[in-house]
Symmetry: C2
Subunit: 427 residues, 2 copies
């Protein structure tokens, strides 16, 4: 249906008002929730030096960069994620700042992904991070923000859950079931993909690549299927080897229980979050029906700031995109109806009232009201139709007789009731 | 002072919270004013096909594009201005829409400008457009939005003015003073730069390039110096030749007078707005001291939508950037002080109150309050210092004695007054 000679780039969205309304609805909810948790908003440039991503982001991301050389011969890239910019900004200023630092942002991010249904090349992502606090209190605070971000939009524990894991705990568990130290990273790789491969294929990899025997594979599978900390504790038995990590995760879940968010949290050791910069507790938010991709992912990344040359500060955070979330809201019928509206629509009966109309319009706008009117002469019938189309709460009718009486007529567009408003109230 | 190994790109800004606060302050004012005038917000992609700009934008802009070839071999560019995207979006959908269309947007735009003090390579720009209305009512409405956008930020008619012109009127005036038809475009070029060149140089160009004799140059200079429509009418005399254009501009200024905005508007025929797509009334907003570059520029562009393959629709709009405006606000001491604040800071006297603290924090957040607390065990003194640093209105102290009494102590951080709050009110 496009008639323009110029097409929008594939994977990019236009936001006409009815679509921007949903984006704003989501972003305003994100902002309200972040502020309730005492976070401050920041932003960075959408364009950064290429080297900020090359070594720090995962390989998958680097392969999908919008990168080029600028007119000053600098290799640059559109930001594919926000955390490297956050780390860069804090590297320059964190030393003078009180800790912990609680910052959030809502950047548009860019990845050249293969074209697939529902896959875009840009999205807006809510980034929420606590920097400078190593304890599980920060881990729990951050996942609580993510959960409340979705609750603020009307989603409940019937709709979604946070699946949490801990990369240190998984590492310890792998030790308990007998994975040699030099096979741990191979094991992380298999577990990261285990939900998306046939069981036989996974078993084969756990035997051949990770070096487990049949009994150990079965035990690991049972552990990975545990959905609560108590179940996991039972499966690990009294052998020890993961006690500290278990206690840590227990504290974390205890905090979320105290907040009243227990219904939203499940243990799931299969959550690994790629192989990038995470170092501790990690989590993803999923729709319970499991039909959509993850809504949100995050975790602890205690070494990133040091890696970009800053102060060695522990950090934890998440990113939540607007695209999958928008799909979920649409599925659950939680997208607010878009309808234009203005407080007042002003209708001159004849053009003689135009100057008075302009004066009154500006007075009402000065008082903070939204006001519209036809910008040229039109019949009263057409003007009333326009008032309806613009969603006017009240129409002010300016006629010669009313002017003589020193008033205008206000018509309530819901009830149809009319009343006089003295001009002295509109001065 | 940068300690990061990775530098921000030159000409780009980071927005730590204290800087984002000013950006938000400006953008929220823009949004409020646009809504008061009944405009709806839209957005487009920051990356577009290169050809969208190559023919439609001025030469200066094309030379400053951030353009490259994407991984799918498409020539693309970061948007240097918003109007081409607006035209593209409307070309695909305007036929089904009621007119006039009143849209606004606040995109970040990108130009690779030569590095100079105060020149950046990105800025946020308020774009406000009325599409589908050819009359001066739309021209006046749009400049009123621009003026009120600045007034909303605390600026007055002492601080800034709109200088308005009309390219059709200037064309007619050039005819009146004797510029041949084939020299009009050369004359526009000289007048566009006349304020930035020595008088002798301008006179020389008007003689040699535009073909005027000494008396005509002097007459044109006097006309260009006219700052009101009456002054201009006197200078033009009764010869005719620009009557229709004069009447049009008189109507335009009459509308702004009816709105009470006369103090903000000056005639200035030297305002030409480059040589790009403008076709009628054009304007710029300047600080009265004349120290800064134009704060805002806009005008009528009746042929652009057709040019990008859409419906032939008249249009008028402006762009106002955040950078020059930010400088003006700083100069006039109109930048609000940034200070972090939260409604409540919660202080446990001992760690035994942690679970109750978490519960209360979540209850208060559910009620829409902002709440912070230390994420790990700390002495009460340190916690109180943190409360002050976070800008807490109220500190809630949770101690073992109070818990036993079934309450917490609320301390008003302004007055220091303390009072008991029953736990039943925090359930």
């Amino acid at each position: 249906m496009a008639t323009s000679e110029f097409a929008r780039l594939p994977g990019f969205r236009d936001f006409p008002p009815e679509d921007l309304a949903l984006r704003s609805h989501i972003q305003e909810a994100w902002r309200r929730v972040a502020r309730r948790y005492g976070f401050s908003e920041y932003d960075g440039p959408p364009l950064e030096s290429l080297d900020l991503y090359v070594e720090k982001s995962g390989e998958e991301i680097v392969g999908q960069l919008y990168d080029f050389v600028d007119k000053g011969d600098r290799p640059v890239a559109l930001r594919p994620e926000m955390t490297p910019s956050l780390a860069r900004i804090l590297a320059d200023r964190s030393r003078g700042m009180s800790k912990p630092i609680r910052w959030f942002s809502m950047p548009q991010l860019f990845r050249y992904e293969r074209q697939q249904r529902g896959r875009l090349r840009e999205h807006f992502q809510w980034n929420v991070d606590i920097v400078g606090e190593a304890g599980v209190g920060a881990d729990a605070e951050v996942v609580a923000v993510a959960i409340d971000g979705l609750r603020e939009l009307g989603l409940t524990s019937e709709d979604f859950a946070a699946r949490v894991s801990d990369r240190r705990l998984l590492n310890a568990v792998l030790g308990v079931v007998g994975v040699a130290s030099d096979r741990r990273s191979a094991a992380f790789g298999v577990i990261d993909k285990i939900e998306r491969m046939p069981a036989e294929k996974a078993d084969e990899l756990l035997r051949d690549e990770v070096g487990l025997n049949g009994a150990a594979v079965e035990r690991l599978r049972a552990i990975l299927a545990a959905s609560s900390i108590d179940e996991l504790a039972d499966l690990l038995g009294d052998e020890g080897g993961a006690d500290e990590e278990m206690a840590n995760l227990r504290d974390y879940i205890g905090i979320l229980m105290s907040m009243g968010l227990a219904d939203f949290v499940e243990l799931d050791l299969r959550i690994v979050r790629g192989l990038a910069y995470y170092t501790g507790i990690v989590f993803e938010l999923f729709d319970r029906k499991g039909e959509l991709r993850a809504i949100c992912g995050g975790g602890r990344y205690d070494r990133l700031l040091e890696l970009v040359g800053g102060e060695a500060l522990p950090a934890v955070g998440f990113g939540m995109g607007d695209v999958v979330l928008g799909e979920l809201l649409a599925e659950r019928d939680l997208v607010p109806e878009y309808r234009p509206r203005v407080d007042y629509f002003l209708v001159p009966i004849t053009e003689d009232q135009r100057a008075e109309l302009l004066r009154i319009a500006h007075v009402l706008r000065e008082r903070g009201h939204s006001v519209a009117y036809e910008l040229r002469e039109r019949g009263v019938g057409k003007q009333m139709k326009a008032a309806t189309r613009e969603g006017a709460d009240t129409v002010l009718l300016l006629g010669p007789d009313e002017m003589e009486r020193g008033c205008v007529v206000a018509r309530d567009m819901q009830t149809g009731e009319e009343s006089d408003v003295p001009l002295s109230e509109l001065a």
